[in-house]
Symmetry: C2
Subunit: 307 residues, 2 copies
């Protein structure tokens, strides 16, 4: 058995993804990454580099699964804090990779509070963040490197924005190569704290966890490290907001025109290009990052059937 390492991204060309426009799109799909999302790139770096034998993180989604697998690879103990309302299939997936699942009632105790408790209980453990962590950003930068190596025609990279871990990794990769490639964020209208922060010039937070179909973007705010990178020189070029309907349309378009199964968060970049084609009509190639593919069959079929 060869050792498990992050898989290279899957580039897919799609014709006519934006009908009646001249926008040329290439997809960088992380749906075939280990554990089904780009998060494994980050989790792998955390588990490899943190000198701790035990890693604790809060995640109800892709980062939890990714960190669980990464810790198994490096023989480390892993605890994932999840709301007790999490889908059983997600709890089972994290457990299947050998991690301990710590279920909490989020009405009584926030995830951050529970992580702080565990941190006191296990002082030697490393507390992982899904975005505000230098190894996470370095792991995500590897995706940027692959995109920049793929094709010199790529003029813009579009990627979803939640905590800013992915986009800050992409920005770091572009800076490293000193290239003139734009990085554009795609954020749900209903969770637009990053967009509002850019307009305000300082970091803003949502009061509560925002409601959006794109569950990977339900963060209260960008991470501090991410904000510094994204607003810095050669940082994020702009953030485009997309409606919930546009997210659904993009999931359906990717099914119909690209034969690609994506989760709602994974469709954000394509939704941004479909919603704002005028921002991409420069003739250059636009690389949309499809960040992940893990979606419940019920949610997916509702989207496909327009429910």
């Amino acid at each position: 058995m060869k050792p498990i390492t992050p898989r290279p991204t899957t580039f897919l060309e799609v014709n006519d993804l934006v009908p009646r426009s001249e926008v040329r799109v290439i997809l960088a799909s992380e749906t075939f990454q280990h554990t089904g999302s780009f998060k494994f790139r980050a989790a792998y770096q955390v588990a490899r580099n943190a000198p701790h034998g035990h890693i604790i993180a809060a995640s109800s989604g892709n980062f939890g699964q990714a960190l669980a697998l990464a810790c198994r690879i490096f023989g480390k103990q892993c605890t994932i804090v999840m709301p007790s309302t999490s889908a059983q299939v997600k709890v089972d997936a994290v457990r299947a990779y050998g991690a301990e699942v710590d279920l909490i009632d989020v009405r009584a105790l926030s995830r951050d509070e529970r992580v702080a408790q565990l941190s006191s209980q296990y002082p030697d453990a490393y507390i992982g963040s899904a975005f505000d962590d230098p190894w996470v950003i370095a792991g995500n930068a590897t995706l940027g490197e692959e995109i920049l190596e793929k094709c010199s025609e790529i003029e813009t990279i579009v990627a979803p924005v939640g905590g800013g871990g992915l986009t800050s990794g992409l920005v770091m990769a572009v800076r490293e190569d000193n290239l003139q490639v734009r990085v554009v964020g795609a954020e749900p209208e209903t969770a637009n704290d990053a967009s509002r922060s850019f307009k305000a010039g300082h970091l803003l937070s949502n009061e509560v966890e925002p409601q959006t179909l794109a569950d990977g973007a339900r963060t209260k705010s960008l991470g501090k490290r991410n904000w510094e990178i994204l607003r810095g020189p050669n940082g994020l070029s702009e953030i485009l907001e997309v409606s919930e309907d546009a997210i659904r349309d993009a999931v359906r378009m990717l099914f119909l025109k690209a034969n690609l199964k994506v989760e709602p968060t994974g469709a954000l970049a394509v939704a941004a290009v479909m919603s704002h084609p005028e921002r991409f009509m420069t003739g250059g190639l636009v690389c949309c990052v499809v960040s992940g593919g893990n979606v419940d069959p019920g949610v997916y079929t509702d989207i496909l059937m327009g429910n």
Copy 2:
């Protein structure tokens, strides 16, 4: 714009596709091929090599779309005979590539009869077959070459059997390289003419078009050229039959474990491995060809939800 040529296949590793077995599977997915199936490889060779300015073929499915695009690339006239009961979306897809659609009432006139009529009407046209054609077989052999180049660990290639165009191309590629790689066919139980032919030692046909969810395997019999190749020395190793339930299970497994959207015919090879794991427990790597991804959202959601 660079010229359109067949895209290389997309290799995807999938862990635990066959639970509780030692079978190691790699997918060769043609779902991201132009027009969404391997058929474009064949159609491209036909349109490129036939010295005729007009190509006629009967197809209600993937071959029609593929031939329409291929003819457009080479500036040739294309007529696709389709049943008048075909889904409008399929008719529209063929027309969108610039082909003429000839709709027939199959209760009054068979597709073969209509093709014969058109052949008399257009004596200078080339009559294309989706499988029983040397250029089709040569086009499909290119997929075999890519698989053989991918990895020397591949011991077995499993692919769907309808008219035998794909498997005969794979067999030709293995023969060309003089390798000891097994090619195994996967055929629906309810459309098992190829399996019965192999057992009988001579070519058998279904009386009527068989009913199976795998619409790409609804052929009445193998083509004559395909039969000769498949039963020859170093031909098809065996044919495994799969139930309709196994096809549905494989579509679901590919959704859940590989994030891959496939059409029922495209899931046949995986269904064969899941149904007959004992045939693949030699330790070698098994390459399952996922032949295509074009499936109506309604059919797909019914399969996902177990209806």
